[in-house]
Amino acid sequence: MVVDDHPMWREGVSRDLAAAGYDVVAVTGEGRQAIRIAAAARPDVVVLDLQLPDVTGVEAILGLLEAVPGIRVLMLSASGEQQDVLDAVKAGATGYLLKSAGLTEFLEAVARTAAGDTVFTPGLAGLVLGEFRRLAVEQPAADDGGAPKLTERETEVLRLVAKGLSYRQIAERLVLSHRTVQNHVQNTLGKLQLHNRVELTRYAIERGLD
């Protein structure tokens, strides 16, 4: 399923996906419509433009995840507005790619997203690293184990991703298997998303108890 408000992009992406053997079940330019359609069409992967006319990227992702639990969201963005990207990842997107990425890169990203892997750009890795550091500073040694922490290995892997190394190169450098590198990256994202859900729940409870 392709969600992009730019008609040329929508068409181009769908065509590329179809040519690569994917079954494009739905195409739309609006977030609310996308959520409705997804509930019926039940796609495996959504290629989602972060900037939609009617809803924010976060709203779109939360809506899609609610409509189809387990759905995988690969974000595309033309501008890479940092906070937006970070928020989208925290909300549950598992991959992120700039629109300037090449076709092969894009198809590989879709394949990996479909397989349940995370797709990180170096920029996103930098954002996630920064977010963990921010959480560590803002909630030092939290009372209820609040702030999520990265293991040393995870930090190491994430730093290398941010420095533009491929998973293969990282695996070589750290003498790990490709799969292990992939798992480390996925874990960092999982921690961040879990923390985000906990925060949201806590916020909801606090508001509800007022």
Binding site: H6, M8, W9, G12, Q51, A78, S79, G80, E81, Q82, Q83, L86, L98, K99, S100, A101, G102, L103, F106, T121, P122, G123, L124, A125, G126, L127, L129, G130, E131, R133, R134, V137, R159, A162, K163, G164, L165
Partner: protein, 384 residues
């Protein structure tokens, strides 16, 4: 922009206008008081007949100033001097109209209370200094005319002086507040305009350029070249619309390192950083950015065109680390030392020099064929 500024310059009177209106109201009220006093005391005047023309002049001047000061373009020295001189004249006329004897007996001058209005006007137009000059001149005239040097007479002058000081000070505050307001409005207009442009560019140009790059990427010859060029422009434009505005205005001594590094982003240089601003003292940020620039220049100079570079900025509580990694040819280990030994200090000088001066460290790791990684770490706190 200039329209916005213009609109506010027009309202520059905006914040002062109420003060001028207040002066006009004060003058009219004082005129009423003067009239009452003249009517009550006219019997004791030396030349009662002359009192009426003087009173008429007072009333006429009240009307003239009320209208004249309402126009911001007329609040200038000619009118202010005329105001002061005419008021002094009315006061001085009291010597002949009221007469020395009556004045010394404590009868008020023909300009009593009314004579404070030009002093306040001077204070509003000229600040504290203008107010003091006018108050001293008017106070001296008052004392000379009354020739009655008791405590009450001096108190009147001192009160006038204090009022002039207070008003002058207040006017200065108003000016500062107004300048700040104008600045804030300008800044907001600029930011909003920039956001609007960014949105437009994002929705149109950026998408199409990215698409051209993507569709043409597989083509040979000129089409492929066009796609590559489109890709470069796309990256440059993206960096432009997403780069952060330098918040130096908000907080003088600090700068956002990312605002400085943003301009290095291109189709071959990718920059990874935290989402929030990376704050460093402005001088440190500038030096770090310059060192990164030197590292990037170095890549451009020594590596094949199209070599990719990744810049990672990490913001830790104690220090800031910037890594610059390329996938280029790499530097043979002995090469750097050799260059330094030969007195060619390119990398060493511009990167190491800058960073060590900031109390930071530089690590350069490289191997032939594996690219080069330069890691700069600078302490966040002041250098001890």
């Amino acid at each position: 922009m200039s329209e916005v500024t213009g609109a506010f310059a027009g309202r520059a009177g905006g914040l002062q206008a109420p003060l001028w209106r207040a002066i006009a109201v004060f003058r009219i009220a004082a005129l009423v008081y003067v009239t009452i006093l003249v009517v009550r005391n006219v019997g004791e005047y030396e030349r009662p007949v002359l009192a009426w023309p003087v009173l008429a002049l007072t009333a006429a001047w009240t009307v003239v100033t009320t209208y004249a000061y309402a126009d911001p373009t007329r609040r200038r020295p000619p009118l202010l001097v005329a105001d002061l001189v005419i008021t002094m004249g009315v006061m001085t006329a009291s010597i002949w109209v009221v007469g020395r004897a009556a004045l010394e007996a404590g009868r008020p001058t023909l300009a009593v209370a009314w004579h404070v209005a030009p002093v306040i006007a001077w204070a509003v137009a000229g600040g504290r200094r203008g107010g003091i000059i006018a108050a001293l001149a008017m106070g001296a005239t008052d004392l000379v005319v009354r020739a009655h040097y008791d405590q009450a007479a001096f108190t009147g002058t001192v009160l006038m002086l204090l009022a002039a000081l207070a008003v002058g000070y207040m006017v200065r505050l108003v000016e500062v507040a107004q300048a700040k307001l104008e600045h804030a409005v300008q800044l907001e207009a600029a930011t909003r305009e920039r956001e609007r442009l960014a949105r437009d560019i994002h929705d149109s140009v950026l998408q199409v350029l990215a698409l051209v790059k993507r569709r043409g990427a597989g083509l040979d010859g000129e089409a492929g070249e066009l796609a590559r060029l489109a890709g470069e422009q796309e990256a440059a434009l993206r960096a432009l619309v997403t780069s952060r505005t330098a918040p130096a205005v908000a907080d003088g001594a600090e700068a956002d390192l990312m605002a400085l590094l943003g301009r290095y982003a291109s189709s071959t240089v990718s920059i990874a950083s935290p989402a929030a601003a990376v704050r460093l003292p402005a001088r440190v940020a500038a030096e770090v950015a310059a060192a990164v620039g030197a590292a990037l220049d170095n890549v451009a100079k020594h590596c094949a065109p199209g070599t990719k570079v990744w810049v990672l900025v990490e913001d830790e509580p104690g220090d800031v680390t910037v890594s610059v990694r390329d996938d280029g040819c790499g530097i043979p280990p002995a090469r750097l030392d050799e260059a330094a030994a030969q007195g060619r200090l390119g990398v060493a000088q511009s990167i190491r020099g800058r960073i060590t001066d900031l109390g930071g460290t530089v690590e350069i790791a490289s191997a032939p064929g594996e690219g080069t990684e330069v890691e700069l770490t600078v302490p966040r706190g002041p250098i001890s």
